[in-house]
Subunit: 202 residues, 2 copies
């Protein structure tokens, strides 16, 4: 298994470099469990989904604390058959047979209800893609069922689902979507956008 | 067929609202062939892929002309089985049987070589997902072959491919990736990020 994300942070301010540099310390508690590589477009985080999501959440909450309108985008993947297995990505949950959809929805709900609160309200939208399988929409619709009862569901949009709520719950919900839907060893990806302090938030 | 994109424009400046409003006029020539809906996270463009990509390109080039560091993100989709057919999205190319991969690569190359130049250099990265089919990596690898000879290939990254060059060629290349790879009536999506005027561009 290989899992991780390409993430980018967009602070809408003249001092965007300062906001980004000021937030990077939030990654420090996770650096021993992540591989991190940066270029001019994004930063690669390689690690288990729980660590990758916790790192993204803390980075985004630290940037949003600037009070500036900030957006984080992440291209998240697990199980891509074009990527090598990596020991830093091993988790027992992502092996073995696939559990019934109803059971996975319950597990996801439990995980979200146990997520710590961050105190930072966010809006988010994401698309879940389960690849290399027929009937991929069954897993998508199963995931949407879970989202509707997650407590952070906002609405369905064309091509994606919109969430809103505390950053802790929102990032936990998207992490559950990645890990509980699609086959355990399958190729699943997410296109995620998270926004805070927008002047046009509804 | 239903096709379109959820797009977001991120100008990294205190005057991000002014840069966005100043660029919106670039959409005017396409508005009669697009359905446009905006909320606090993104703007939905529904239309044929050629019109959606031309509109994204012109919007981004107009924003980048501000000289500010600007990023556009788009979640692009065609053929999602959960979306209704829409007459505004009909194109003859996306029906009928799938042509051999080599022929599609040639068609994509021709289209990119005919793309108009914009005068705006950009860096971009994107991920292509062909859904609901087995052997989806065959189409992905076929697309990567095309990208390597597109003239704007920069490098392969984990989870995505990086491009750089004139905005005209880069947007045309990503449009060809969406329309030529995966079955004509299949569900294909792209997670696209385009950047200009980055202080850290390499």
């Amino acid at each position: 298994m290989f899992s991780g994300a390409q993430i980018s942070l967009y602070p809408m301010t003249d001092d965007f470099v300062g906001v980004i540099l000021g937030a990077l310390g939030a990654l420090d508690p996770y650096r021993d469990r992540l591989r991190v590589e940066t270029d001019d477009i994004s930063t690669l985080l390689v690690g288990t989904p729980d660590i990758v999501f916790a790192a993204m959440r803390d980075l985004f909450v630290a940037a949003a604390a600037s009070g500036k309108h900030c957006v984080l985008h992440a291209t998240i993947s697990r199980g891509c058959p074009g990527e090598p297995d990596d020991p830093i990505c091993q988790v027992p949950e992502l092996s073995g047979p696939i559990a019934p959809l109803a059971e996975r929805k319950r597990q996801a709900m439990t995980a979200v209800s146990n997520a710590p609160s961050s105190g930072q309200p966010v809006a988010a939208q994401f698309s879940l893609y389960t690849l290399g399988i027929d009937q991929h929409m069954d897993e998508i619709y199963g995931c949407i069922d879970f989202l509707k009862s997650s407590g952070v569901f906002d609405r369905s949009k064309n091509f994606c689902t919109k969430l809103s709520g505390d950053a802790g719950s929102v990032f936990a919900t998207v992490c559950e979507a990645l890990t509980r839907f699609g086959p355990p060893a399958g190729h699943v990806t997410i296109d995620l956008t998270v926004s805070a302090n927008s002047p046009t938030s509804l």
